[in-house]
Symmetry: C2
Subunit: 366 residues, 2 copies
């Protein structure tokens, strides 16, 4: 009750349309559940034999409120931001890599570019808070809130108004995309040296798993660095005492600008009944915050892939989601989501194109 009230007050901080966006989200309707399940059950195959593809086919039917779901517009937003927490020596790569990788995204040379080309997904890169001045580029959306978050070992990662601006920017990039071209599915990726520390902290707070358990090797840190990372998170949680049920409070204290951008896009996408594919641990941590802010987004969420990072599993279990693919990946950027978007596309085609026992004249089970 108290929390709901506080959340309500927080939402009032958002300007006009953005505040309304959060309120406009409605749970995925269940009206077609029975007919969608019956449609997939009557396809020419043993009951349930297409496994996860069947679940995705039914979920997409409900999201689109249509027994012939279709992916026309497929979008990927890759949010980038730097992290003050890197001062604590928590990452295997130097901070400069965030900007360098953004330039790699813009040049089309990163893994996410290759996978988006392969699956015909429109990619946009969003600078939410990189410590670098980028030139204009057709694939770059300049939404910088600040050059990097503050070091959350010492102070809150961002101010309240910075957080509101970052979430709004995240909503804005999706909603402008939505205006210009119908997006039926959106993948949310990220780049930000230091952001697994932020994501581990978020997941530890929300799910209650210990900071030590929530801490993984990120881009590949050694044992000493791993211990340091867990200690940094543990101390930060003691220092900030974030409210484990308040997504805004957690985001502001230990989050990142790219994470806030994902939160905004997830909320905006759900408000327009668009399917959302989360990626690895950071993207999932952001999805978790959006879920805390408005649990009605759940039916729109698809977990793109199982990350090697253990904390991701805790976050998915908290939301009751199961990852679609498990390729032992731990790259982020949206790479797992990009692969899964194509699987969702295949599942929609199964729902639309596959013949039923009746249509094909095939005998059913004895």
């Amino acid at each position: 009750m108290e929390i709901q009230k506080r959340k309500g007050e927080m939402i009032k901080c958002f300007s006009g349309e953005y505040g309304k966006t959060i309120g406009r989200i409605k749970s995925v309707g269940q009206e077609l559940l029975e007919s969608a399940q019956s449609k997939i059950d009557n396809k020419t195959k043993p009951l349930g034999a297409l496994g996860k593809l069947e679940n995705l086919a039914v979920q997409m039917s409900l999201i689109q409120n249509d027994l012939n779901p279709k992916l026309n517009g497929k979008a990927m937003f890759v949010f980038a931001g730097d992290h003050g927490i890197t001062e604590e020596g928590v990452s295997a790569f130097p901070s400069e890599v965030t900007a360098q990788m953004v330039n790699n995204f813009l040049a089309g040379g990163a893994a996410i570019n290759v996978l988006c080309r392969h699956n015909e997904i429109d990619i946009q890169v969003v600078d939410m808070g990189v410590v670098y001045e980028f030139d204009d580029h057709p694939k770059l959306l300049q939404r910088k809130v600040r050059k990097g978050t503050r070091n959350f070992a010492m102070e809150e990662a961002m101010t309240r108004s910075e957080m509101v601006e970052a979430i709004q920017n995240g909503m804005n990039v999706f909603l402008s995309g939505y205006d210009s071209a119908q997006i039926d599915i959106v993948g949310v990726g990220e780049m930000g040296i230091g952001n697994t520390t932020s994501a581990s902290a978020i997941i530890s707070i929300v799910t209650g798993i210990s900071p030590k358990k929530a801490t993984g090797r990120g881009t590949g840190i050694d044992d000493t660095c791993l211990e340091q990372k867990a200690r940094v998170i543990e101390n930060a949680l003691k220092f900030h005492k974030p409210d484990s049920s308040d997504g805004f409070d957690i985001l502001r204290k230990v989050g990142g600008f790219e994470i806030a951008g994902i939160v905004g896009t997830v909320l905006a996408a759900a408000s327009t009944r668009c399917a959302i594919v989360l990626d690895g641990m950071i993207s999932t941590a952001a999805g978790l915050l959006a879920y805390l802010i408005n649990p009605e987004i759940k039916g729109y969420l698809i977990s793109g892939h199982k990350s090697v990072e253990i904390a991701q599993k805790a976050a998915l279990e908290y939301m009751g989601l199961e990852p679609v693919v498990d390729f032992e990946m731990r790259l982020g950027e949206g790479t797992g989501a990009a692969l899964t978007i194509d699987i969702v596309d295949a599942a929609c085609r199964i729902m639309r194109e596959m013949a039923s026992f009746d249509e094909a004249g095939v005998a059913e089970k004895k």
Copy 2:
């Protein structure tokens, strides 16, 4: 030694070019292993962060002996055949469904059609031994050896000359396809009511797991039918005493014509250095027999997906293969392979198109 001799004699039964095909198979060359691994390691990502995609990228480089592997021709052969063993009441669907499903494949309405269209894979259906006379159809290759195998609970499933003919037919469909258009990757699917019984028997014989353990629910049989199926297999193994190291002996005694077709295509594909994607339990059982006949095929094999059937796991472990996707599917037809072919395609693009740290000007790990 004795087995090698017997195998050699068996291979002599194949006519001219077919006999040579088996002998022509050479293990995948390892010359490029170091440079392929180094190429993928230097892409702009943490070491190993693309997980299974990296393994596939390296494997495809070795198969094609090219650091820029590419899938031009993508083919799927779906082999169909009926099984005398269905007389023993081992399946949930009536035998007629084999022919009905072949017609469904030809009409483009089955799951495998949808997934092949989605991933732009050329599909051909091969009648190896269906109890039905099909009209000519551009997508149907008529290679019927006999209308169904004999009931292997009572006698050997096929004669030696039928088996040789069936394997040759399987080689032939691949080799003629190979002549007309370069195939870089081939998926091997199947349809045949009763064929999980055959596949369970094969896997039990080769891997040594008990018939009971090797027996699954196939298209969805109940507990009574499951017990009956396991008993049928157990009795058949006692009766036939197949030689667990002789693929030909096992195939003849408890196999199927569609299984023999897959064996032939796998051997022919390996002889032309083509990547082979196995599908579910039946396809994997056929791959296992081809592997017994000539273990040098191993480097060309990719396990398309993890089946719900436990026996498949035993077969994969025997060959040292790990499945690419796990969507809890149990349909066969080649559906898991069709999904994985696109993942292999993505992995090849990663190898070709993704920038290295040097090319992108990205700093490496500290």
